[in-house]
């Protein structure tokens, strides 16, 4: 028999603490596949956030640290400056990065820190029980926007991939999603590019993943994939917003 798909070697046997159909699981799996395929596992230091992926250190056979809420890019700065030849991968959700840690991610970009950042945007706080995030859509009902997010009091959803593309210290910024097999394949390609740029020392590489949160959105998983397509993508368009050419960057 020929193996078409096997559980990645970089994964432990732990069962995730994610809800059924959660996009974190798909992205984590792509990361594990790439650690295997790119031979990165033994030189990797994963920096996890506070949020639903708070226990993700248990899923990977790789060195890892769980940061304080929002502070992963600062923690990763200390790690990468100490060990510039290691592969440092920062993973953050929307509440963690765009709310609590906006300062830390922006200044990691200002400095052009040479690590890769995976940003999970599911337009809601998952772990704490479905509260409004900076990425929550207008009209989207959450437990702290019970009648829908209103522009007048809570402003605008934040488009991180576009913002990061404006930062000179960022070498690569793309927004992808995981709501179909083709898009999952495209996400893997984006992650691979972001990871490989770290070895070219180009600066910060950034991949935003629109990710389903069936529990937070009170939807069945397959319905959540449709909601993502219809509601999120018009506000958060997919695409490459920055890709530094050969020889550019730091």
């Amino acid at each position: 028999m020929k193996t078409i798909y096997k559980r990645p070697e970089s994964f432990t046997d732990a069962v995730t603490s994610y809800c059924g159909g959660c996009g974190h699981g798909i992205v984590n799996k792509l990361m594990a596949e790439l650690l295997d395929e790119m031979g990165l596992r033994e030189k990797t230091i994963l920096v996890w956030p506070i949020g639903c992926s708070v226990y993700a250190d248990k899923y990977f056979k790789a060195d890892a640290i769980c940061a304080l809420h929002g502070r992963a890019p600062a923690l990763a700065t200390g790690i990468k400056r100490s060990l510039p030849d290691r592969f440092v991968l920062v993973y953050q959700g929307d509440g963690d990065m765009v709310s609590e840690g906006m300062s830390e991610i922006m200044h990691a970009a200002v400095r052009g820190e040479n690590f890769s950042v995976v940003f999970i945007n599911n337009a809601i706080y998952g772990m704490t029980g479905g509260q409004m995030a900076p990425t929550t859509l207008w009209g989207q009902t959450t437990s702290t926007s019970p009648y829908g997010r209103e522009k007048s009091s809570s402003g605008y959803p934040v488009n991180m991939a576009e913002i990061m593309a404006q930062m000179p210290g960022v070498c690569y910024s793309e927004r992808v999603t995981v709501n179909s097999p083709q898009r999952i394949a495209a996400t893997k390609k984006a992650l691979k590019k972001a990871f490989s740029y770290q070895f070219e020392e180009k600066g910060l590489s950034f991949v935003e993943v629109l990710s389903p949160c069936p529990t937070g959105w009170s939807q069945k998983p397959v319905k959540a994939l449709e909601w993502l397509e219809q509601k999120m993508i018009p506000i958060f368009p997919l695409g490459v917003f920055k890709d530094m050419k050969e020889g550019e960057g730091k």
Partner: protein, 69 residues
């Protein structure tokens, strides 16, 4: 015959594999696992073309696919 293996206890019944299988090989099962989910199982294994889509969309890394050669 090609093989689709679903790790029964790892599954959380999201249904992505059932939804995206191009050959309708999988269907929700009637057995419950320890976490209270009813994992899908192959019902038309002979139709499986070993494309691997079910495994790639699985958020739990619970599916492995093998092709007969």
């Amino acid at each position: 015959m090609n093989r689709t293996e679903i790790e029964f206890e790892r599954c959380k019944e999201c249904g992505y594999c059932v939804e995206f299988c191009p050959k309708e090989v999988l269907a929700f099962g009637d057995k419950v696992n320890k976490r209270g989910y009813y994992p899908p199982a192959p019902v038309k294994q002979e139709a499986c073309i070993a494309c691997g889509i079910c495994a790639r969309v699985c958020p739990e890394g619970a599916i492995e696919v093998y092709k007969e050669v």
